[in-house]
């Protein structure tokens, strides 16, 4: 097992830049998730780490060794593909043992290793089956088996649950994390599903258009989004934005939104007058008739223990997550009270989060690029 360090990694296909200046470190034994919308460069990054694609620039270090230009087979990495890539002309046993065969391991040893691995994944009863008849979840387990049997330095997984049914997916998310807890393998996991990312990751990198927008723990990313993109991409429903104008000065603790004064975490930097946005998670909104910030109920979505309420304000619709017991009727006017300590402030033009008291004690997780 080893640490993966990616420095200023860049990949261009002709004029198109798929990955720009990525920087991150995956610690020894960490489960790292790359999250982002389709086409943002997740697979490309992973393929560069694996050695299937050569970077246009930058460095990849594996356990401290520079492997940027090494061949895939010299990196001691395992890769789980979205379509599993199980060899149709081999049975389960041969598929799992295939990487060991490459090392010239004696047959008897391959046998025991394959059986151990199959037991770990609870597919030992399938060893002599053909892979073409397997159900999605079992195909996935075989693909995982082929990855872990070799005990490589690290695992790379490209949307390994992408093709599974929802039912299997939840099960596999759980199984994967459990497997990780048992074998503690450094893992890079790619997905566009935030629930998968949040429930499995030790660290997440949120990518967009080839850029890592934020790198941090699931909690940091949820509580202190570094950019409006991250705030909007994570959370269901995502963070609400209310626009406001004017500059901010260091030490400010209050802003004016739609004519109402809103207390915010203490601002830690000076911002010249510009279009700004106040970011509020739906669960940080309460209804309070005393509040000056007002809106009209537009609709509700009942979820059992909570409900999502859409409120029409003068700056568009914002969504609040409130207890399910509260009775609301469309058209009712309500006051909105916001949990001051949990609010985020953004500069609209760059999308960047303004440094405030919520960032105290943490280094701002945004990757160092322009």
């Amino acid at each position: 097992m080893a640490e993966i360090r990616v420095e200023h990694l860049r990949k261009a296909f002709g004029d198109f830049v798929a990955v720009q200046d990525s920087n991150f470190v995956v610690g020894h034994g960490e489960f790292f998730v790359m999250l982002g919308p389709s086409g943002c460069g997740k697979t490309t990054t992973l393929r560069m780490i694996a050695g299937l694609e050569l970077p246009t620039g930058g460095k990849i270090l594996l356990g401290g060794e520079d492997v940027t230009m090494r061949r895939a087979r010299e990196r001691d990495i395992a890769f789980v593909f979205q379509l599993f890539a199980l060899y149709p002309h081999m049975n389960v046993r041969k598929n799992i043992g295939f990487p060991l065969l490459a090392q010239g391991m004696p047959g008897a040893e391959i046998r025991t290793r394959v059986e151990e691995t199959a037991k770990l994944l609870r597919i030992d009863h399938l060893l002599n089956k053909s892979v073409s008849g397997l159900a999605g979840g079992d195909r996935q387990r075989v693909a995982l088996g082929r990855a872990i049997v070799r005990r490589p330095k690290c695992f790379l997984m490209d949307e390994p649950l992408g093709t599974l049914d929802t039912e299997f997916r939840d099960l596999m998310v759980h199984e994967l994390r459990e497997l990780h807890n048992r074998i503690h393998a450094t893992t890079v996991y790619v997905t566009h599903d935030q629930m998968e990312a949040m429930s499995m990751a030790d660290k997440i990198a949120v990518m967009n258009h080839g850029v890592i927008e934020q790198f941090g723990t699931p909690r940091e990313i949820y509580d202190r989004p570094a950019t409006m993109f991250v705030a909007d991409f994570i959370g269901s429903p995502p963070m609400n934005f209310l626009g406001f104008g004017g500059g901010l000065s260091k030490g400010a603790r209050e802003i004016v939104v739609q004519g109402a004064k809103v207390a915010v975490p203490e601002v830690r930097e000076d911002i010249a007058p510009a279009d700004m946005a106040l970011g509020i998670r739906p669960e940080h909104i309460r209804f309070d008739d005393g509040s000056k910030l007002r809106g009209a109920i537009y609709g509700t979505e009942y979820l059992g223990t909570t409900q999502i309420v859409a409120v029409e304000t003068s700056d568009g619709i914002i969504k609040a997550r409130v207890p399910a017991e509260i009775r609301l009727n469309p058209g009712d006017h309500v006051g909105l009270s916001l949990s001051s300590a949990r609010l985020s402030l953004f500069e609209k033009s760059s999308g960047r989060a303004v440094r405030t008291a919520i960032h105290d004690g943490v280094s701002q997780g945004r990757a160092q690029h322009g």
């Binding site: 050695g51 299937l52 895939a72 087979r73 990196r75 593909f81 890539a85 490459a102």
Partner: protein, 316 residues
């Protein structure tokens, strides 16, 4: 992974099925009658073979096969009677026509030439075709599209159009009437077909298979050998059979470039006619034997061949 199979969206009506069935049966009859005719003729005696009206029922004889495999000399009946008892079916058959067997004919060596040249060139064309197709399919080849078009364009004229330059070049190079020359020639003609057919098949195999193998510690060549080839067998078999049929049946170049040691069966068979009268049963026997290898090969690979022919119809 799901397999898509070609099927009509609208089920055919009973009438259209009957019409289609009739056409197929008619076509099969038209194709098979000449073959049956040849097969029957090969077992006739020379007089039966030219009888008019043609004999449908006849006393089968091995004379055609005896004549095909032997050369004979005419002798006086007295001389033949002075010989001991006949040593086999052929000896007996031949003696009835006042002849004795002088030795083996050239048919066997010509047939062996055909086997060597056809299978040799098929192997080379498929081997080169598979590797080039893999290269075109997986790597960024500079000017790949132009190269592929160029390769295809070699098929756009009938190969015989270049017969004279090839004849002259072969004479200069000492390749005339050599098995090597014929193998090179047929390989060159077939390799374009092989590249195009195989590229289609290899394009269909996701590259993740080799990538997985390469990450797992195999070299690209090993990965190709262990993961791509096994999945390309259908395509390779279909391609091989197309190449083989061409090389096996090719007449014009063989007639032009081979005359002696490297002569193949197609130009040889017609020469049988000349030897001692119009020996149609011997010609028919040669043709019948000539058909056997292709028949066997086709039957062995018929599934792959079918897929090779319908290929493209099932692509998404």
């Amino acid at each position: 992974m799901s397999l898509t199979s070609a099927h009509s969206v609208v089920a055919p009506s009973a009438t259209s099925k009957r019409v289609a069935g009739t056409i197929i049966v008619l076509y099969a009859l038209i194709s098979i009658v000449p073959l049956l005719w040849i097969f029957a003729t090969s077992f006739k005696t020379p007089p039966d073979s030219i009888a008019y009206p043609p004999k449908i029922l006849f006393q089968p004889s091995l004379e055609g096969y005896c004549n095909l495999f032997s050369t004979r000399t005419r002798q006086t009946p007295e001389y033949i009677n002075s010989l001991g008892p006949a040593t086999g079916v052929c000896d007996e058959t031949v003696r009835k026509r006042n002849m004795v067997i002088a030795g083996p004919s050239n048919f066997m060596p010509r047939f062996v030439n055909s086997l060597i040249i056809a299978f040799g060139s098929t192997f080379c064309a498929v081997f080169l075709g598979t590797l080039s197709a893999y290269g075109f399919s997986r790597f960024k080849v500079p000017l790949a599209d132009d190269l592929l078009f160029f390769i295809l364009s070699t098929r756009m004229m009938p190969p015989i159009a270049v017969a004279i330059p090839i004849y002259l070049m072969y004479r200069e190079l000492g390749l005339s009437d050599t098995a090597l020359g014929m193998i090179l020639l047929y390989t060159a003609v077939n390799v374009s077909l092989a590249v195009w057919l195989l590229k289609g098949f290899i394009d269909e195999i996701p590259r993740e298979y080799e990538e997985a193998a390469m990450i797992d510690g195999y070299t690209r060549l090993q990965a190709f050998w262990r993961t791509v080839l096994p999945q390309a067998t259908t395509g390779i078999a279909a391609t091989a059979i197309f190449c083989l049929i061409f090389a096996w049946n090719e007449y014009a170049f063989a007639a032009l470039l081979t005359s002696g040691t490297a002569q193949t069966a197609p130009p040889f068979i017609p020469t049988i006619i000349g030897e001692g009268g119009q020996d149609w049963p011997a010609v028919a026997a040669g043709t019948t034997i000539f058909l056997v290898p292709i028949l066997v090969f086709t039957i062995l690979l018929r599934k792959q061949l079918l897929r090779g022919i319908t290929f493209g119809a099932v692509r998404k």
